[in-house]
């Protein structure tokens, strides 16, 4: 029982990472109509920035600002590329998937080439923090608490923004019916740039929470989580925000439990096998496609 609770906590913390990523990914999908596969790479670059600024200064505020602003800048920089792609006639959403894959390849290769000799970067212990609660094997570290709370708060704020503010209503209007949104006079491009901004902020906060939870970043971290992010959003149903929330947390828990209770190195396949079976049974995702 002790182990079970401890596994559950770590699974939830891991799941909150997936939730943050999937939420940003789905927003891009809904509002900007793109598959932003490079989103986790942006988060990782932002983690690298945090690491670099952390080395220069100990001021946490500056670190957070630097991480968030790099993420915003990268997100906004990708906007003209994706806008150009979606404006080409006869080109569908796959084109943005392919282009963002190219962008992800570039970012990953530059990180493994040029930053810190390609070594993973580690955050100092006072940034990561130790346990804040401990009872036997059940422990909650500062990173886990922040990831869970921060994840929940960020997603709640995001959902509030989406469902209870005018700007959120415009996002949803564009997601739901671009033509009608155009008719009522919503400025599509301006709103979609704003969505890149929001995703950039979300990415920056994800980067800070990751760095506290994982404690390090490596050039290939983005690729590992990108696949899971894509898988979660498809299993939940592309563009389904609530579904992504549930499935992200579930994936984290399934992974932790699989490792905890299944023997052999097969455990890392279990999460993938579950996702494969779900997708084969329900090709549209568990909660339905929303685009």
């Amino acid at each position: 029982m002790e182990i079970f609770i401890a596994q559950l906590i770590s699974g939830l913390a891991l799941g909150s990472i997936y939730v943050l990523l999937v939420t940003g990914f789905n927003l891009m999908l809904l509002v900007a109509k793109i598959i932003q596969f490079a989103y986790p790479q942006i988060v990782v670059v932002s983690m690298y920035t945090c690491w670099w600024v952390l080395k220069l200064t100990g001021n946490k505020l500056i670190i957070i600002l630097a991480g968030v602003s790099v993420s915003i800048i990268l997100s906004l920089l990708s906007e003209p590329i994706f806008r150009k792609i979606s404006s080409i006639e006869g080109v569908d959403i796959n084109a943005s998937f392919i282009a963002s894959m190219g962008i992800a390849m570039i970012m990953m290769d530059i990180m493994s080439h040029s930053i810190n000799y390609g070594f993973p970067v580690a955050f100092s212990p006072d940034w990561v923090g130790g346990n804040i609660f401990g009872y036997g094997l059940i422990t909650v570290s500062k990173g886990q608490l922040f990831a869970l709370l921060g994840g929940i708060i960020a997603v709640l704020i995001f959902f509030f923004l989406l469902y209870h503010t005018n700007q959120g209503r415009f996002f949803r209007a564009i997601a739901e019916n671009r033509f009608a949104a155009c008719l009522v006079g919503i400025p599509i491009i301006k709103t979609s740039i704003f969505s890149y901004l929001i995703v950039g902020i979300l990415g920056g906060f994800s980067a800070i929470l990751f760095s506290m939870l994982i404690g390090s970043a490596s050039p290939w971290l983005g690729e590992f989580v990108a696949l899971k992010m894509l898988a979660v959003s498809i299993v939940a149903g592309l563009g389904n925000l609530q579904g992504g929330l549930v499935c992200g947390l579930l994936l984290g828990i399934i992974e932790a439990m699989a490792i905890g209770y299944f023997s052999g190195s097969w455990s890392n396949v279990i999460a993938f096998a579950v996702m494969l079976i779900v997708v084969l049974m329900k090709p549209g995702g568990l909660f339905g496609i929303k685009i």
């Binding site: 005018n166 949803r172 739901e176 019916n177 009608a180 949104a181 155009c182 008719l183 009522v184 006079g185």
Partner: protein, 239 residues
């Protein structure tokens, strides 16, 4: 600045989809408070024309003036905020949002008198008031069309463009909708109505343009056209 009589003026407008010309050299004019019909067969270019006024289709040649201002190259949101509104064909609504949210979105460019506007629209369409918290996708076809109209009115437009409001609706509801349009016109809204149902359109409107394969084939007062044998032959079933 010269005095402007017309609310909308279209000069030599052409629209093309790739090699296909949908609208060729069209001239059209609407005065303040006027109810103008645009009739023509399916594919004559009516919808293309309306969409290009709102800047959704980009004009290839020619220009569009609204209240004396050139709006040909302006983005749609600017055009809507200057007082134009389109009720598109086939009930285009935000079907997973509530009726109220749909109306709120309609007020995107005009949030100032929101409550007042809403009350006005509930007066026109009492059914929407009863269902204001219902999800729009669950409304009936006629109700969806009313919602679409209500949403367009939320921005307090000076000119309403209506595209095929009768499409796919029962005759009784079509009559209701035309009555509402006439009523709106009486309140001072200028209306440009594109409609295949020529009889209904001609009955309600002051003036009428007849479109044929992308060109204006004929124009005049509706009362004149309704008696025109050619029109009767082509659009009103010969009797």
């Amino acid at each position: 600045m010269e005095k402007i009589n017309n609310i909308l003026e279209i000069c030599n407008l052409s629209i093309a989809y790739g090699p296909i010309k949908a609208v060729k050299e069209v001239n059209l004019e609407i005065n303040h408070g006027e109810f103008v019909a645009l009739i023509g067969a399916n594919g004559a270019g009516k919808s293309s024309l309306l969409k290009s006024i709102l800047g959704i289709n980009k004009a290839e040649k020619g220009s569009i003036f609204f209240l004396g201002q050139d709006i040909t190259r302006k983005p749609t949101d600017k055009i809507v905020s200057s007082g134009l509104s389109l009720i598109p064909e086939g009930h285009v609504i935000f079907s997973s949002m509530s009726v109220l949210e749909n109306l709120q979105l309609g007020a995107y460019q005009n949030l100032a008198d929101f409550e007042e506007n809403l009350k006005r629209i509930f007066d026109y369409f009492p059914v929407l008031k009863d269902r204001s918290s219902q999800i729009a996708g669950t409304l009936s076809g006629g109700e969806q069309q009313m919602l679409s109209m209500g949403r367009a009115l939320m921005s307090k437009p000076k000119l309403i463009l209506v595209d095929e409001p009768s499409l796919g609706l029962a005759p009784k509801i079509v009559t209701d909708i035309f009555n509402i349009l006439t009523e709106l016109n009486k309140e001072g809204y200028a209306i440009l109505l594109a409609e295949q149902n020529a009889k209904k359109a001609l009955e309600g409107s002051h003036r009428c343009y007849v479109m044929k394969t992308g060109e204006i084939a004929m124009s005049g007062f509706s009362t004149d056209l309704i008696d025109d044998p050619k029109i009767r032959q082509a659009y009103l079933g010969g009797n």
